[in-house]
């Protein structure tokens, strides 16, 4: 016992001296890296393990798996894909594992020679309507396996499987989940020019994933996802037989049952809805109670409506957006007497602070999922662009600026919404003519078009994580 005590004392003393010795040394703080680069990724075509004579759709399925994964990883902005012509070994003649693990495996040296940072090897098999997908992610410079997984699912869910793998890759590299298994809610005139209905689609707007949600034969606006991703609230101009006129009502749609229920049908406007993170209430703009647009909070349990904004008299207070911690609300208002600007206030309506002072018309503010950033649409001359700033209004940057096709004017870029991982922003733009859905990363270096048709889309809103 005495010996153990002495040893412990000795270890403590040595470690203390070592620590103090290190403490006395000069420290050179390098600071945050200012230079960043994309990593070189080698991703050969996926191997088919089955019998080509038996499986009829194996080529199509393999292409889907490969293309979806490649698209997801390109969007991440982390990788540059190595041209397959540069490969020094034929991936079809080597296994998915290194030669040190299996006799016919690949050789890391062949990938090191072409400077690959990462190597993805994958193979699949199809049995009846089921896919078995086997995937590996290797870090080439250290010759180490970073991720190895097997996925199984129906062939119709091939895209979903590839999205899941992309999510797992990002999680293994960054420790943060990717957004690839998430959806967009958006209103569109896809069903006819006279109406705008609510639609839900995969985040990449794959045509086969677009699903019409409402059929109100009306104008539907400003959708918002519930915190669990199972419901979507929205506003629609519904006909009131008693009043013989249309009114902007607030509704809640259950995606599983397909039914919509009315939340507020006060005469006037009930719009600009946003779910509070508690999942038990939502915020929206109502005009009846005060005669001018003000922000209210609606509680699902007791159906109470609480007024949040209070004056100045006659001011417009719209587009509420609750912070991720549920304590604050972003909104736009013309209370400064001039143009609409972005404001923030406490959840009970107190402590109002103006955040933007630049531009002529700032609207549709939204928090990043971590609550550190705010995105909004700002108008300066004759067009809107997407802007990003810190939560206190500092460090504002412009993310978009694009000419309108066939015109000398600049295009409108509006209705921004953060991805659930906070790495990207979806918005709509008329740069190609009609209003299409686009994506931009947080420094504006990568913009990508998601929809490729001639319909018009409005207010795309990103869902929370759905996996």
């Amino acid at each position: 016992m005495k010996m153990l005590f002495l040893i412990t004392q000795l270890i403590f003393t040595v470690s203390t001296f070592a620590q103090s010795a290190a403490d006395n040394k000069p420290i050179l703080q390098v600071g945050q890296a200012t230079l960043v680069k994309k990593s070189l990724l080698a991703m050969p075509q996926f191997q088919f393990f089955g019998n080509p004579g038996v499986s009829t759709k194996y080529v199509e399925t393999g292409k889907t798996l490969f293309d979806v994964l490649k698209n997801d990883l390109e969007i991440s902005g982390y990788f540059t894909f190595i041209d397959s012509k540069a490969y020094l070994e034929d991936p079809n003649k080597t296994g998915l594992k290194p030669v040190t693990v299996e006799p016919n495996g690949f050789n890391f040296e062949n990938w090191k020679q072409i400077s690959a940072d990462f190597l993805i090897r994958a193979g699949y098999n199809i049995k009846a309507n089921s896919i078995d997908l086997e995937v590996y992610l290797y870090h080439v410079p250290s010759s180490k396996l970073l991720l190895g997984k097997k996925y199984q699912g129906e062939t119709k869910n091939a895209r979903y499987m590839a999205h899941r793998f992309a999510n797992d890759i990002l999680l293994s590299l960054t420790g943060k989940k990717g957004f690839f298994v998430s959806k967009l809610a958006v209103t569109s005139d896809r069903g006819g020019k006279d109406f705008k209905e609510l639609y839900v689609m995969d985040w990449d707007a794959f045509e086969g994933s677009i699903k019409q949600i409402t059929n109100n034969k009306s104008v539907t606006i400003s959708p918002s996802w519930s915190t669990d991703g199972k419901k979507v609230a929205y506003s629609a101009m519904l006909y009131k037989p008693k009043l013989k006129m249309r009114n902007v009502d607030l509704l809640l749609h259950d995606l599983a049952s397909g039914s919509s229920t009315v939340i507020s049908d006060d005469p006037g406007t009930n719009s600009g809805v946003n779910f509070h993170p508690d999942g038990k209430s939502l915020l929206f703009t109502n005009t009846r109670k005060t005669g001018h647009p003000d922000i209210f909070r609606y509680y699902f349990d007791n159906k109470k409506l609480i007024k949040i904004t209070a004056g100045p008299l006659g001011a417009m207070n719209v587009e509420p957006y609750a912070s991720p911690d549920g304590r604050r609300i972003l909104f736009s208002s013309d209370r400064s007497g001039g143009h609409p600007m972005i404001y923030v206030m406490d959840i009970n309506g107190g402590n109002v602070n103006r955040l933007t002072f630049a531009g002529r018309y700032n609207s549709t503010p939204a928090w990043s999922p971590d609550g550190k950033l705010i995105v909004f649409a700002g108008q300066e001359n004759d067009h809107f662009d997407i802007f990003l700033m810190n939560a206190d209004g500092t460090n504002m940057i412009r993310l978009t600026s694009s000419p309108k096709r066939g015109s000398s004017k600049l295009a409108n870029n509006e209705d921004p919404s953060f991805s659930p991982d906070g790495r990207n922003i979806v918005f709509r733009s008329n740069r190609t003519g009609s209003y299409q859905i686009f994506l931009v990363n947080l420094d504006g270096s990568v913009e990508r078009r998601l929809t490729f048709d001639n319909f018009n889309y409005e207010k795309p809103v990103w869902s929370p994580f759905l996996d």
């Binding site: 010795a21 290190a22 006395n24 040394k25 000069p26 420290i27 050179l28 703080q29 390098v30 600071g31 945050q32 890296a33 200012t34 230079l35 960043v36 680069k37 994309k38 990593s39 070189l40 902005g77 982390y78 540059t80 894909f81 190595i82 041209d83 012509k85 540069a86 020679q113 072409i114 400077s115 690959a116 940072d117 410079p141 250290s142 990002l170 590299l173 960054t174 420790g175 209070a310 004056g311 100045p312 008299l313 400064s336 109002v352 002072f357 630049a358 531009g359 700002g378 300066e380 662009d385 802007f387 504002m396 940057i397 412009r398 993310l399 978009t400 600026s401 420094d443 504006g444 270096s445």
Partner: protein, 243 residues
């Protein structure tokens, strides 16, 4: 004077004045009660802020190092160019004359050295009193760096930081990782890295290796000032990524 007299003599004046006063007080109280207990919508008055119409910022494209896509290695079959062989020229000189010039130059140099090493005549100054050394009266120079030394140190570490940072290129996927690594680096008097070791790992092997690689690529660092040479060679410095 006549008019004033008439007004003061009016019998109803006092009564009317009293009624007027009561009426005004009543109205004042009514408004006060309304303002205090039946206030309307609060008008929020914030501190006045001077707001000039300012422009929204322009779009600025960030700089990202895009690695060049790797192409298959091609071996160029170029015909080697033969380098013409230079023939050494045979010097022609007078040996006796050269030796004489050499001797003169050496003598001149010796004279100069003699002059330099000779101490200049100095007036006799008594030596400064030396403190008597006994236990406990030796003052340690301490670790705090002040004055000119501090300026010198700061300048050196700024230069070293700039050099190290130039070689610290982070993959995009590690940019927001929040990882921290400390490396003990020892450099020789010319600035060459002679030793490096992890004193605090980030927990991510790839990040740690990138940091160690960046330090080696940054070698040689700027040559340290005299005061720092021994410290940086024997004790070393802790290079903290990012802080």
């Amino acid at each position: 004077m006549k008019l004033q007299y008439l007004v003061l003599e009016d019998p109803d004046l006092k009564k009317n004045l009293t009624n007027s006063l009561i009426g005004h007080i009543a109205v004042f109280f009514l408004f006060t009660i309304k303002a205090v207990f039946f206030s309307g919508e609060a008008i929020i008055i914030n501190n006045a802020v001077r707001v000039d119409l300012v422009s929204l910022p322009d779009k600025v494209m960030p700089k990202i190092n895009e690695p060049a896509e790797v192409e298959p290695e091609k071996v160029a079959l170029e015909k080697p160019v033969e380098k013409p062989i230079e023939k050494p020229k045979t010097p022609t000189f007078d040996l006796a004359k050269t030796k004489l010039e050499q001797k003169e130059a050496l003598d001149k140099l010796k004279n100069q050295m003699k002059k330099k090493t000779e101490p200049a005549p100095q007036p006799e100054v008594p030596p400064p009193p030396q403190p008597t050394l006994y236990k406990g009266n030796v003052l340690s120079p301490g670790s705090e760096v002040v004055g000119v030394a501090k300026l010198e140190y700061d300048k050196y570490f700024d230069l070293a930081r700039a050099k190290v940072k130039l070689h610290f290129i982070l993959p995009q996927w590690l940019k927001d990782s929040g990882l921290r690594t400390h490396v003990l680096v020892k450099i020789d008097e010319r600035g060459y890295v002679i030793d490096r070791s992890l004193v605090k790992s980030s927990g991510n092997e790839i990040y740690d290796k990138l940091v160690l690689k960046a330090i080696m690529e940054a070698s040689p660092l700027p040559a340290p000032p005299d005061r720092l040479k021994q410290v940086l060679m024997i004790d070393g410095m802790v290079v903290a990524y990012p802080d």
